[in-house]
Amino acid sequence: MSPKIDLKPAEKILECYPRDMTSLIQVLQDLQLTYNYLPREVLKRVSAALSVPLSKVYSVATFYKAFSLTPKGKKVIRVCTGTACHIRGANLLMDELERQLKIMAGETTSDMKYSLESVNCVGACAMAPVIMVDETYYSNVQPDRVKKMLDGKQ
């Protein structure tokens, strides 16, 4: 059994938007930020509150990359794999992170510390290759800097 989900934050978010289909994506965005993922109970509540079938809520929640149905790690590491980052060696960084964290892109470490993701472009192409840890950008990263970053030395 998973721990019971507190629905209060969800109610607060729902109060800020008109109760119809047009609010669905905006509500899910806020919920993702608050809960760090979209728990089933919360989605059921959204479906009822916005009068949108649960199937439709799921179809939107699984279509967009911004949403996750499973909990994410405390820190989310995003390797930018935009074109500029790619030709400056983003895949080498991803390989190194996968090796260091012992998970593949799209997964979360078992201690829930890190989630590793690739992102298509964070729009910081001039400093390629770029890694984002939560909201912090790391620019011109070389594979040998990855371990230092994870150890918190940078």
Partner: protein
């Protein structure tokens, strides 16, 4: 905040700001674009604040400290500009701040050490407008980006903001506004290049209960960040353009669709909208006229296909972003099945400029069919990476070798990728191609939203094609089978080539399958998806053939086809031994090292650390 009920109120407000500006002796502009932020510009701004306070100097009026949007030369960040002298300091560190205040702000002396040195000419520049990177640019879309505080509406008003709106609302008929835009020659800057005035006119004439205006800020093309720079650095120009557009087409509700990967753009746009509403530029009876208009921000969900207009509209409605067939254009039936005019960020931002400067000004720039300027992101293997804006018709050579100062380490230029995943690679033989909508399309690429990724001989074109196919395969919405399944197969074939598993007739298969995908897909994503592979095949076919026949990657990128070697430049410094996580390098100190091929994973760590060019890729 002041509220403008009439154009006279705005005039009074801006005259008041002018008077206040006269008291300002220096303006300290700290670039807070994404590049400089990543390099710690927040700390620089903080240090200025602290240091000015410690010296009991005012940071609001006399020495005005401003955090701006992207200034452009991201490569050299963090950037600090001292106005009005345009003194330009690069790679500034917090410890430089006291010296800048002491020398430059107090005594008016320039600190040589912090000036930008042009790598090619070894010349130092005091005034940034003289640096070749800036000197060749013409800034229309980026006219205020990097020069004003995006979160202060007064800074926008002080540079003439919302004057164009006042002029339009109180003195021009909607038809005249459309005519003015037509005379400027403005075309959609999102990539398609559709004449803006024509779109507006169709939208105006379309029957419906409500006409909507949309600003497409879903800048999904990897390698492009112009729209981000404009939304973050000069959001009011976009809003003003949208209000003028809404008046011209008769709309009362607008949406700005911003991708969620740009949190700062969402924040700055939202604040600008709130401020514009408080100041009376949005809402009911704008400038005391019967015209009412408001804007809402809609955040995207991280789907590339939502940059496509019909998918974007589905997404604003709260749905899954799947495009629809365009038998009926969205200007007739778009958002909520109503007439909808959708333009890109840069297009909206050009509109106030056209009104204030007159349409002839924009029409005088550019080529015969492509008027005005275009903002680009110059990135990849070029020395000066950053945000640029050039008149249409500027050649690739001027962009890459003059503005960009050539290729990193003077390696040979191989090609430049434009148009994102819908575009292609323009090879070095077309270096003198003038950049406009038509020329790029003729070259097998397209303008796209403005990413320009420069590639050198160390970039493998087969790998580039594979990269885009993988991108598109993941981003295909799945509605049309040829796109969804075809891209997967196309990716498999190209992936096989990069792994040394090419089959007979693979190149012909690629060409056939590409044609089917183009013909069988509904939207531009599918129709243009084979472009990257077809254009690289057109210009770099021998490179594909070397991968297939000789099982070699000449650029040294495809891991399965390369080996790392150590040559006699090796000094035995052991740096690579320490960098290798797989114990694949052996050798004693000061003796030439050796790579054990069976242990080497081709991770590139040794290549990155070697200071003597002793690691070779074969």
């Amino acid at each position: 905040m002041k509220r403008c009920k009439t154009p006279a109120d705005l005039k009074k407000w801006s005259t008041g700001l002018d008077r206040q500006r006269k008291k300002t002796k220096t303006r300290i502009l700290v670039c807070s674009g994404p590049g400089c932020l990543a390099r710690g510009s927040r700390k620089i701004a903080g240090a200025f604040q602290k240091e000015l306070a410690a010296r009991k100097l005012d940071s609001k009026v006399v020495h005005k400290l401003t955090e701006t949007g992207c200034h452009g030369l991201c490569q050299q960040g963090p950037l600090v500009t001292i106005m009005p002298e345009h003194i330009f300091y690069v790679q500034v560190k917090p410890k430089d701040v006291p010296e800048i205040i002491q020398q430059t702000i107090m005594k008016g002396q320039v600190i040589e050490r912090l000036l930008h040195t042009d790598p090619g000419k070894k010349e130092k520049f005091q005034d940034y407008r003289k640096i070749p990177f800036y000197a060749r640019q013409v800034r229309v879309a980026l006219r205020n980006v990097g020069l004003i505080d995006p979160n202060d509406i007064e800074e926008y008003i002080a540079v003439g903001g919302y004057q164009a709106l006042a002029k339009v609302l109180t003195g021009m008929k909607p038809e005249k506004v459309i005519d003015m835009v037509a005379r400027s020659g403005l075309r959609g800057k999102g990539g398609g290049g559709f004449p803006t005035a024509k779109k507006w006119k169709s939208g105006r004439d379309a029957p419906g209960e409500q006409t909507y205006i949309i600003c497409n800020g879903d800048e999904g093309d990897p390698g492009a960040f112009m729209d981000r720079a404009i939304m973050e650095g000069d959001p009011h120009s976009v809003i003003e353009g949208m209000i003028i557009g809404a008046y011209a087409v008769g709309s009362s509700q607008g949406y700005v669709y911003v991708r969620q990967e740009y949190p700062l753009a969402v924040k700055n746009m939202q604040q600008a909208i709130n401020d514009a509403r408080k100041a009376g530029f949005l809402g009911d009876r704008i400038f005391g006229t019967p015209f009412c208009f408001d804007i809402r921000v809609s955040r995207g969900g991280g789907a590339f296909v939502c940059g496509e207009s019909s998918a974007l509209m589905r997404s604003v409605e709260g749905n899954v972003g799947e495009p629809r067939a365009k038998y009926v254009h969205s200007v007739k039936r778009g958002l909520f099945d109503q007439p909808t005019i959708l333009n890109n960020v840069e297009t909206w931002n050009n509109v106030p400029y056209i009104v204030s400067e007159g349409p002839e000004r924009l029409a005088s720039m550019g080529t015969k069919k492509s008027k005005g300027t275009k903002a680009f992101c110059l990135v990849g293997k070029v020395r000066n990476t950053g945000l640029i804006e050039i008149p249409m018709g500027t050649t690739l050579r001027e962009i890459i070798y003059e503005i960009g100062d050539g290729i990193i380490r003077d390696r040979p230029f191989k090609g430049v990728q434009t148009g994102g995943p819908s575009g292609g690679v323009v090879p070095n033989s077309l270096l003198d191609l003038p950049v406009d909508f038509e020329a790029l399309t003729r070259a097998g690429s397209m303008m796209g939203s403005g990413g320009m990724i420069v590639m050198d001989d160390r970039t493998c074109m087969v790998d580039v094609a594979k990269y885009f196919l993988h991108f598109l395969m993941e981003e295909s919405c799945g509605k049309c089978v040829p796109c969804r399944e075809g891209l997967k197969q196309l990716h498999n074939i190209v992936d096989g080539i990069t792994r040394g598993n090419a089959g007979n007739g693979d190149l012909e298969k690629i060409e056939n399958l590409s044609r089917s995908i183009m013909e069988g897909s509904l939207c531009a994503l599918g129709k243009s998806a084979p472009n990257p592979v077809l254009s690289t095949l057109q210009y770099f076919r021998p490179e594909y053939e070397t991968h297939i026949e000789k099982k070699k990657c000449p650029a040294g990128v495809c891991k399965a086809l390369i080996t790392y070697l150590i040559n006699d430049k090796c000094t035995g410094c052991t740096l690579c031994v320490k960098a290798c996580a797989f114990d694949a390098i052996v050798g004693k100190k000061k003796k030439m090292h050796k790579i054990l091929e069976d242990k080497c994973t081709r991770c590139g760590a040794c290549f990155a650390v070697c200071k003597f060019d002793a690691i070779e890729i074969d």
